[in-house]
């Protein structure tokens, strides 16, 4: 099998997996929010309401697609595509498990694009493109609420991307590599970065909430003041794409955090206790389970926080981004740098 077909197959699996996860997240979000509010949530479609996302998608597909008369049609159509494409593209460098050792001695890496030496930079770059989706959606709709939502989101994303990058720099100093595989390898045997970088993790977490436009930072779509924000003028499956992109973004953000701070697919001692050799299929399955277990914990945190905290005010948001997270991130880099310099 040529490496191209192999990559395409892995990519197709990753894409479909992410979309299914996004759909499942919509269901979980509704269920967990219901539990937090003394309700039960969707429980009618299929067993436990598990088929609810399917029904939702079906509904979205049969809806009329309304485009405002004065909208910029091309960009109006392009915006949701950018949003979802970027959210899914990040998956290519995510490394959910190590590799399988084939009989002829070559390693079959599980990541879609393994050993990209600028892996993490790629993620930062791609997520920044995500802003275009939202900003274009706001601008092309020719609606002031959409425009304000789009503007807010670009301001927010740029502010928080900075803090996010700074937090990540400290991690990269420890791992001395941008390759996702190396980053995970540097945290092997429980030397997870979250223990060395608690503040960095916190900054990254908060910035991730802001990057994915999730509460308490969901200002771009603040319903009471902006009607629906950037997606006010979207209907049918175009709206559905934005919706899906939000959850796909949550998924990738959780995967990135797992890689950077929670040791990726690493658990200390367990693999050797179970006698799982590196490079075997069993080991890879085990690693996948660990990785997605950690990701699920973070995803639950995303949903949990959304239904707990109220939305930030816009000035508070900017305050937090520029006057708290940014200096903290800088201090974190300096301290980490000093320790790395003197200890090593």
């Amino acid at each position: 099998m040529s490496s191209l077909t192999l990559t395409l197959i892995k990519g197709a699996i990753a894409l479909n997996f992410a979309l299914v996860v996004a759909a499942a997240l919509v269901y979980l979000e509704r269920r967990i929010s219901a539990w937090i509010q003394y309700r039960i949530g969707p429980n009618r479609v299929g067993p436990f309401g598990l088929l609810q996302p399917l029904a939702d998608v079906l509904k979205l597909y049969t809806k009329e697609d309304i485009v405002p008369y004065n909208a910029n049609k091309a960009f109006h159509r392009l915006a949701p595509i950018i949003s979802i494409a970027v959210a899914l593209a990040v998956l290519c460098v995510i490394t959910p498990a190590s590799y399988i050792l084939l009989e002829d001695g070559t390693k079959l890496f599980i990541a879609v694009a393994p050993n990209v030496n600028v892996g993490f930079l790629l993620i930062l770059a791609l997520t920044s493109i995500g802003v275009y989706g939202i900003t274009l959606a706001g601008w092309s709709s020719n609606n002031k609420y959409s425009l304000l939502g789009g503007l807010r989101s670009s301001a927010q994303m740029i502010s928080y991307e900075l803090a996010m990058g700074l937090a990540a720099v400290a991690v990269l100093m420890l791992s001395e590599s941008l390759d996702m595989y190396q980053i995970i390898a540097s945290q092997a045997n429980g030397r997870w970065n979250i223990f060395f970088q608690p503040i960095g993790f916190l900054i990254f977490l908060v910035a991730s909430f802001a990057e994915t436009n999730r509460a308490p930072f969901d200002l771009p779509e603040a319903e009471p003041e902006l009607v629906g924000g950037y997606h006010t003028e979207y209907s049918g499956m175009k709206f559905g794409l934005f919706y899906l992109a939000e959850y796909a973004n949550m998924f990738t953000a959780s995967a990135v955090m797992t890689t950077l701070y929670l040791g990726g697919y690493d658990v200390p001692f367990l693999p050797s206790l179970l006698g799982l050799q590196e490079g075997t299929l069993a080991r890879v399955l085990f690693e996948l389970a660990i990785f997605f277990g950690k990701v699920s914990v973070l995803l639950f945190l995303f949903i949990w926080v959304r239904w707990t905290l109220p939305r930030f005010r816009y000035d508070q948001l900017m305050n937090l981004g520029w006057r708290v997270l940014l200096p903290l991130g800088l201090a974190n880099i300096i301290i980490t740098g000093a320790i790395v310099f003197f200890v090593r």
Partner: protein, 165 residues
């Protein structure tokens, strides 16, 4: 003038200003809530049984020998939404008059209960029906077939009326 001294923000302690402990408290609260008993009623299966004081859709009282209504037209006259139409006819029975046609347009009815209040015969009362559904405007006009309800099923409301009206 804006008061800028001794504001709530200034009175917060250091830990409160850090937000994080407070956020943790909030998260703990919502986490506990997740496992509390739910308040949801599973509607079509689990139905709510209203009390006698509930004003559901207006119905006509049906006795053994027929409806109580004497077609005086007062209810139709008083109805603020002009929802009732009554046509009177003569009958052999003691009450002499009866409604040939009695229709309530349920799209117009606002469940005010004035028809019930004005009726001299206690012939129209508010029932406990609250899920009233129809698929067309014609269907929304309830004739005598749908309005007549045996008196046995309206006892609670009649008792309530006797006590409080």
């Amino acid at each position: 003038m804006n008061v800028t001294t001794n504001t709530r923000a200034q009175r917060m302690s250091f830990w409160e200003k850090l937000y994080l402990p407070e956020i943790a408290k909030g998260l703990a609260l919502t986490f506990k809530t997740m496992f509390k008993p739910k308040l949801t009623r599973q509607y079509p299966e689990e139905r709510w049984e209203p009390l006698g004081s509930y004003r559901g859709r207006p119905v006509l009282v049906l006795e053994e020998e027929g409806e109580r209504c004497v077609a005086c037209g007062l209810c139709s006259r008083v109805c603020p939404a002009l929802a009732i139409e009554v046509q009177a006819g003569e009958t052999e029975r003691e009450k002499e008059r009866y409604p040939v046609k009695f229709e309530i347009n349920m799209l117009r009815c606002i469940y005010c209960g004035l028809c019930e209040e004005v009726c001299p015969e206690e012939a129209i009362v508010m029932s406990k029906d609250y899920d009233i559904v129809f698929h067309s405007q014609e269907e929304a006009i309830f004739g005598k077939d749908k309005l007549l309800v045996p008196i046995a099923r309206l006892q609670e409301r009649l008792e309530f009326l006797r006590q409080y009206k």
